[in-house]
């Protein structure tokens, strides 16, 4: 059994609203898999069905080989999964150690408390009350509660929403560390950079449907699509003097779109060296995950704009 999650034609509606409309994906053991999408795309609904918290309307799912919709498997499953919710859910007047010890008692094979405290970087805060922690520290304790039961599979619902940049980075490091130890992670996010930094594979959700699914590095064919080369036009050189066809000039900025970036760059830089001119501000950029994401979810945004008008 190498699959941690199997989702096949999953469906869920709230009244007339189709929250999840026929989605399918698999997650392998040890993988970090991300559900990316705007608010209301169905990320949390999907996660809560997989956690066994919500009932589905149709489709088949397997979590660590069992169906979380069947009551008799729930206890077995909950011994083996960890959950971090969108809400920061920790009692504020307990100490860090107290909450962790309390939750560790729920599980058959918990991680040692000191190890968890160390992992989430709260070594100096073990005896501090939760309400004295910063937002980032509380979120890390929250993740600590998610992993205290030594889960095989960890659900992270928007793990860094509301955190400052430094706290986000430490949270990312923690997620990478857990993954390197073999924990499978299913996360949701509406931050592109987060998904790009963490996830091996990503499913872009839009209106409860999967708009795109694939490895993060090649989603929507962005590893082989057009490349954009930009630089400032050297002084005393006209656009027509350039050895390559430039697609656009915006002020002094020259932009070249090409599918053959290696030879285009070779021609351009060879020409610059021969004439001894500088190519100030030279950049080579591929379509970002953000570009892909925005084009995939354009429909969502246009609709919400019309609605808000």
């Amino acid at each position: 059994m190498t699959l941690a999650l199997r989702v096949d034609k999953l469906r869920k509606s709230y009244g007339n609203l189709k929250a999840i409309d026929d989605i399918s994906f698999d997650v392998e053991r040890g993988e970090i898999f991300a559900l990316l999408g705007p608010n209301g795309a169905g990320k949390t609904t999907c996660i809560e069905i997989l956690e066994g918290f919500l009932r589905r309307d149709g489709g088949a799912i397997e979590v660590l080989g069992v169906d979380p919709g069947e009551r008799q498997h729930l206890r077995w499953l909950r011994d083996r999964i960890g959950v971090v919710l969108q809400e920061l859910a920790v009692e504020s007047f307990f100490t860090v150690r107290q909450v962790l010890e309390r939750n560790a008692g729920f599980y058959p094979n918990p991680r040692p408390i000191d190890e968890v405290i160390e992992l989430v970087g709260l070594s100096e805060k073990g005896d501090a009350k939760v309400k004295r922690l910063s937002g980032g520290q509380q979120r890390r304790l929250d993740i600590g509660l998610g992993i205290v039961g030594n889960p095989e599979l960890l659900f992270l619902d928007e793990p860094t929403t509301g955190l400052d940049p430094a706290a986000r980075r430490t949270t990312w490091d923690l997620i990478r560390l857990l993954s390197s130890e073999g924990t499978t992670v299913l996360m949701s996010s509406h931050y592109m950079d987060e998904v790009e930094a963490l996830a091996h594979r990503v499913a872009v959700l839009s209106h409860g449907e999967i708009a795109a699914l694939g490895p993060t590095t090649s989603l929507g064919g962005r590893n082989e699509g057009e490349v954009t080369i930009r630089f400032l036009l050297p002084t005393g050189v006209a656009v027509t003097d350039l050895p390559i066809t430039s697609s656009r000039v915006d002020g002094d900025v020259v932009e070249v779109k090409t599918r053959d970036e290696v030879s285009t760059l070779h021609t351009l830089t060879g020409w610059a060296i021969d004439l001894d001119v500088a190519l100030a501000g030279l950049t080579v950029a591929r379509e970002t995950l953000e570009d892909i994401y925005l084009s995939l979810t354009r429909h969502d945004r246009e609709e919400s704009e019309t609605r808000s008008r």
Partner: protein, 269 residues
């Protein structure tokens, strides 16, 4: 995953779960006493009320209650208050806060079985009620010469019926309170109006309109059941079966509401 392995694990869970109850009760207790609001509201209030009222008006005789001293009425009355404050108000508020902050949802998604959580909350509430009952009995006995109950067993049963029923009412009201901000005001106002109508501070003359009205509500019945276990006036049975029945019926009604309306997850905005 063969079903055989599941059977084995299910069997092992029994012992594990009983230990879990002990584990969870420990943290429910810690939760209650560290969260000073709850402790002040239950034990603190009832002690302060008893001491102040006992010192100021305790020796007045109440003609409508067979001429007993007022403080004799206050000791069982504030024992009932403590049960209701712990089971109803404190439980309702903490449940709403736990639900809206996602704590309940997180517990739901942990291996902790729902019955272990419910049993632990009930046991913890009982411990609080017993502690404050003992404190009030000792203050009444040694501060104001109020006798101990003539039937400890009757007092214990009244305590248990009160805790179960008022806890159920606390769960029911937590299910209809929409958010954290309104949890405190809503439950406290309902609670103090009910207490006042039931004559906790100013005894109601039997047969008065207010007493008849209060007979439909559970608070006065719990106070009477507590009062009876002290068996004043003499010759009356310490068992107030009729009153316990009314309290119990309110508990059953509240349980039915709770089963229909209880939510684990916060209200999404």
């Amino acid at each position: 995953m063969s079903s055989a392995t599941n059977d084995v694990t299910t069997r092992k869970y029994w012992l594990h779960d009983l230990r879990l109850v002990v584990h969870q009760v420990k943290y429910e207790q810690l939760f209650f006493w560290l969260n000073r609001v709850g402790a002040i509201f239950t034990v603190g209030f009832s002690v302060v009320f008893l001491v102040l009222l006992g010192a100021s008006a305790g020796n007045q005789r109440v003609a409508s209650l067979g001429g007993i001293r007022l403080v004799q009425y206050y000791v069982p009355g504030f024992i009932a208050y403590g049960v209701m404050a712990a089971g109803f108000t404190t439980l309702a508020i903490t449940l709403v806060v736990r639900r809206e902050t996602g704590l309940l949802k997180r517990l739901r998604l942990s291996p902790l079985p729902a019955w272990v959580l419910i049993a632990s909350i009930f046991i913890s509430t009982t411990i609080v009620a017993l502690v404050q009952t003992l404190v009030l009995l000792v203050i009444g006995r040694y501060g104001y010469h109020v006798n101990f109950p003539s039937s400890w067993f009757a007092l214990l049963i009244a305590l248990l019926v009160g805790i179960v029923s008022f806890s159920a009412m606390g769960v029911a009201i937590s299910a209809v309170v929409p958010n954290q901000e309104s949890a405190g005001p809503v439950t406290s106002i309902v609670f103090f109006v009910l207490l006042f109508l039931a004559g906790l501070w100013f005894p109601l003359p039997p047969g008065s309109g207010l007493a008849k009205f209060s007979n439909y509500l559970p608070v006065r019945h719990l106070m009477i059941a507590m009062d009876r276990s002290f068996q004043i006036p003499k010759g009356v049975s310490p068992w107030a079966w009729h009153d316990l029945l009314v309290v119990g019926l309110w508990g059953v009604g509240a349980t039915l509401i709770s089963l229909r309306r209880f939510r684990w997850s916060p209200r999404r905005t």
